[in-house]
Subunit: 377 residues, 2 copies
């Protein structure tokens, strides 16, 4: 017997599951969207994740199906369940990651603190929400957004006219999500793993820095986060993971408001950029933990190796030449930095790798990670 995990999607999150899978003796197989993707080494099949027959054929060779992303359509997920395939996270949980209005509705039912929000079906309703919230608001398409896409700050109800028009043409119809523009001090993220048997394991809450809607840095633990803040964040993540029935890794993105509240911004039901620090900073990385969770194995300790770990993304990569050409100088100048590259070609704004650095002094660790990452600009 060998544990066999099938990952739908061949991006860097699938790629980063390969290392812990190999170490634990887990047979990892990837259904990739195309040849030559990040996780190509473990790709056993190339095909369309929106096609039920393709995913079913892939699933036949594994014990559990999990995901590199949250975009597998519900009918495909249900076809897997009907065929007796273990799917983690399951469609009922993924629904809340796929539809932000359903997520907001469910979090409200659970009593989880979140920004004021509404589902709006036209410009007038949007305008009314804006008027009631200081003249500005955040509009989001409930489905399909990521890394800042499908998110717009607006002052007038007419500024989302194109999205309303698109929804009107969509067979599923539906509303846009509008949220208050939260007056926040900083953004945090809380990682938690939950297994089918209901075991949970939380990581230290981290601070994330976003640039242009994309995660640029994460600092673990969040500087100045006392026991109370850490407990509140972990409790919220536990409530959400249990309340939504999440299996595998869950990232809860949070606003820390200027009046000291934590509000849920977004959810991700998979290993998440804000948890990459765990690869070199914690006893069990989020990628190993995800594999353990979806296989319903006991979860690992999340103990940090060092007081501070900082993760800095490599965004875009060099304008000329490849990433590999920059490796020698980065390694030479920053021997304590851990370099992670995703096997992707440089392209403006694209996540092509990240650097982790860990140590005793936050200033030094942050400098090391940032300076090493700068070698790849």
């Amino acid at each position: 017997m060998t544990y066999r995990v099938g990952v739908v999607g061949g991006g860097q999150l699938a790629r980063m599951m390969i290392a812990p899978a190999v170490e634990l003796g887990i047979d990892i197989r990837v259904l990739a969207e195309a040849e030559g993707m990040s996780a190509a080494l473990a790709a056993t099949q190339v095909g369309d994740y929106r096609d039920a027959d393709t995913v079913l054929a892939f699933a036949r060779e594994v014990d559990v199906v999990t995901f590199d992303h949250e975009h597998v359509p519900q009918p495909v997920l249900h076809a897997l369940l009907e065929a007796g395939v273990a799917v983690h996270p399951g469609p009922a949980a993924l629904e809340f990651a796929q539809d932000k209005i359903r997520m907001r509705t469910r979090l409200a039912e659970l009593g989880v603190p979140q920004p004021d929000w509404a589902a709006v079906s036209d410009a007038d309703a949007l305008q009314q929400f804006i008027d009631e919230h200081g003249g500005r608001a955040v509009v989001k398409t409930p489905r399909g957004g990521y890394d800042g896409k499908g998110v717009r700050v607006v002052e007038h109800g007419t500024e989302a006219a194109d999205w309303f028009a698109a929804l009107a043409e969509d067979a599923r119809g539906g509303d846009l999500l509008v949220e208050e523009l939260v007056d926040f001090r900083r953004e945090l993220a809380q990682q938690i793993a939950r297994s089918p048997r209901g075991e949970v394991a939380t990581y230290p809450v981290v601070e994330t820095v976003q640039r242009d809607g994309v995660c640029a840095e994460a600092v673990a633990p969040a500087p100045g986060a006392g026991a109370r803040l850490a407990d509140v964040a972990a409790d919220m993540a536990r409530d959400i993971a249990n309340g939504l029935g999440v299996t595998g890794m869950l990232a809860v993105e949070l606003f820390e408001t200027t009046d000291d509240r934590l509000l849920v911004n977004e959810l991700a039901m998979r290993p998440h950029n804000s948890g990459h620090w765990t690869q070199d900073g914690a006893l069990t990385s989020q990628f190993e933990q995800h594999l353990r969770a979806v296989l319903d194995l006991p979860l690992g300790l999340t103990t940090p190796h060092a007081p501070w770990t900082v993760m800095v993304n490599i965004l875009g990569g060099p304008a000329e030449g490849g990433l590999a050409e920059r490796v020698p100088a980065a390694m030479s100048a920053h021997p304590a930095a851990k370099i992670h590259l995703y096997g992707k070609d440089p392209r403006p704004g694209r996540k092509v790798g990240h650097i982790n650095a860990a140590g005793e002094e936050l200033d030094e660790v942050a400098y090391e990670a940032r300076a090493a990452a700068a070698h790849f600009d």
Copy 2:
């Protein structure tokens, strides 16, 4: 451009290079002896490493050729060099790992402390060495031994008659190696990496415990090893790596004698069992370091994560059932233990995995690693 490393041999050492290769964006390719070996995930070719054409064809797709073992014949290695292939370690260095008499001769030239030894061509010469060394000695076949194979403790010159007979039939001819039986307190191992440009990086010296000629445990650092012992071991490894022109990882197995000397027992020119602790115990694992060294990239820091790391081998595995069945109980009882499995079927005495544990207290760490490993008995 992508760094491409070709590993000849598909065993667990090649397998354990996969994780750091994936993280660093290195394209790793393995020439495996057969289908379904430990490193099967990265196997791009199956073939005979003793066949020059096979290895040459494999080498054409990579930037550097390195090894899972030291058994590639010299003519094949030279054929690679003649074809312009980068080979690390190169044939001149590997010769000393392949032939223990040449190794002893070269270490003597370098003035490196080692047990008394002789090359003997018949039972009389062997008997004379035994008589001069207290009535017992260790006889070794100069070529092809590993994990205690090809090693015999003898009291009479006639006890190696079968090996002398085999050498007489071998076209290469040659002598047997005989060594004094060293009165040692314990065995140590010193890991060092050396790159083609001559950069070296040493790891803390470790204590190893052998059972039936096979490494059973490693404790890093060697308990009670003060700065003097650590420096002597590191200096010896540096002298050997430089003197033999080793590239990649070198493990120097040492006897610590009852009169406080360090004598070289064996050399391994590759990642070595005594260095597996670095996967979870050091900033740069020996597998990442080997890849960096053979690619002539700057070497990584070898700083330990914790005061103590203990590695315990899983030897043989369960008499009934597979290794995977034991994983849940081991994880549940020992959440701080890091489990490494090689994708090999259990078989008496076979190395099928290992456990690493790290922490502040040696007793606790050693218990954790041993108790977790015992789940796989």
